[in-house]
């Protein structure tokens, strides 16, 4: 079986995988990073969103072996020195979650949204660009507020 090596949250991590092993399986089952969730497993809900080489993708729809050598950031890699990432802090502050299952994906997706669109995000942009992330609890209102606040807070990073 092939061995893949990735830089995950800043650390070099290797594991023997099958050709069919998904990135999310590599992260959860091989590395024990269970913060990345599997919701739908059909590329729709976005709970499994992580950053690969700085770009947000759905890790349930990428082969681990195809990403040998990549740099991956998961929800576990956001907080620095015990301090939450500004987007995590904004989700906490604005109560942008209920059950919390979609939250890791929402946050990873939101940070990528800031990369693509900058720090001043209007409500329409946030709603449109969150199309790849599904929440079944909140009705999105507080998530949108949190993403806007988190985007602004990231400017000071």
């Amino acid at each position: 079986m092939p061995v893949v090596t990735m830089t995950v949250n800043g650390e070099a991590r290797s594991a023997e995988v099958e050709g069919r092993t998904l990135l999310v399986e590599f992260l959860r089952n091989h590395l024990g990073l269970t913060g990345t969730h599997v919701g739908c497993d059909t590329t729709q809900c976005g709970c499994c969103t992580v950053h690969v080489n700085g770009v947000a993708i759905k890790s349930c729809t990428a082969l681990a072996v195809a990403l040998d050598g990549a740099a991956v950031t998961t929800i576990e890699g956001l907080a620095q020195n015990g301090k939450l990432h500004p987007m995590q802090e904004a989700f906490r502050e604005h109560h942008a979650l209920q059950c919390g299952f979609c939250t890791p994906g929402m946050i990873m997706s939101a940070i990528d949204m800031v990369r693509r669109n900058g720090h001043a995000l209007d409500e329409r942009t946030v709603r449109k660009q969150l199309e790849g992330n599904i929440c079944r609890c909140t009705g999105y209102h507080n998530i949108v507020t949190a993403v806007q606040a988190g985007a602004a807070a990231m400017k000071g990073q």
């Binding site: 069919r20 969103t49 729809t61 082969l63 195809a66 997706s109 199309e131 790849g132």
Partner: protein, 267 residues
């Protein structure tokens, strides 16, 4: 997913050799359709040949009166390209409306047309602009490329390298997306080109198709007003849990009028 062997060739030649040497191989592009299909065990291959490391089939280039887009160019790159926006803004809209941002970060143009999903967006641009599909073996006219439900003119082992889109005088793409998947319930690509008016419809039938009646009307008068009494027959259109054939037929006419207006048709 059933087990398979994974390969990552560095050139088109190497990929073609692998396809020829394996019992049941399949090309992997962005994987946004293939991987979900494999996960559902709707298909089984002995080998996946991943095209993602082949740089020669990536990128966007303006070449005279055409825009050439490499097969492994991702939707996000087309959607955010200034070159595309200057040449064919309808493609900017089309690529920027595929799936969601996370899907657009991975999905590729070549994967979309080779898969030929009846509700995919790109086939309507290939047909609507009269584009040319460039493979490792030949050039295929857009009119000859899409053959049916998930069926194209591609031979086994043939690799799409790029698509050459002629720059139109006016063009627009408007779709009515399925609210869950963002696939086109109905999508209409209209283009006024030097060679005439072309209208291509996706999502409505088993395969992307041209609307020649509407093309004739628009050739005389490129305006939404020319379509005032235009209707589409529901015969042969898709009917499923999302919409009836009658609903789709109506939506095609509505989307077409909107597309002509968006293309800057006479008012």
């Amino acid at each position: 997913m059933y087990a398979f062997d994974y390969h990552q060739p560095k050139s088109v030649d190497e990929a073609a050799q692998m396809l020829g040497a394996k019992p049941e191989p399949k090309l992997l592009a962005g994987g946004m359709s293939l991987l979900p299909t494999l996960k559902l065990r709707l298909a089984q291959y002995t080998d996946l040949v991943d095209l993602s490391a082949i740089d020669s089939i990536k990128g966007i280039e303006r070449d005279g009166d055409a825009l050439v887009i490499g097969a492994m160019t991702r939707h996000v790159e087309v959607a955010t390209s200034d070159t595309v926006k200057r040449a064919i803004p309808a493609l900017t809209t089309l690529a920027g409306g595929i799936g969601d941002p996370l899907v657009r970060n991975r999905g590729t143009m070549g994967g979309s047309i080779a898969n030929a999903d009846p509700a995919a967006d790109y086939p309507s641009a290939v047909l609507g602009l009269g584009a040319t599909v460039i493979t490792d073996k030949r050039q295929i006219a857009g009119d000859d490329f899409f053959k049916g439900l998930f069926e194209t003119a591609l031979e086994p082992g043939e690799i799409v390298m790029a698509v050459r889109y002629p720059v139109p005088l006016q063009a627009a793409y408007i779709k009515y997306p399925n609210p869950a998947s963002r696939f086109a319930l109905v999508g209409v690509f209209v283009a006024r080109t030097a060679a005439g008016v072309r209208v291509a419809v996706t999502g409505a039938g088993p395969c992307v198709f041209r609307l020649t009646d509407a093309e004739a009307l628009l050739a005389k008068n490129f305006s939404a007003a020319a379509l005032e009494n235009f209707t589409v027959k529901p015969d042969g259109l898709n009917a499923d849990i999302h919409a009836t054939a009658e609903y789709r037929a109506h939506a095609v006419a509505v989307m077409l009028k909107r597309a002509v207006a968006a293309a800057g048709g006479n008012t």
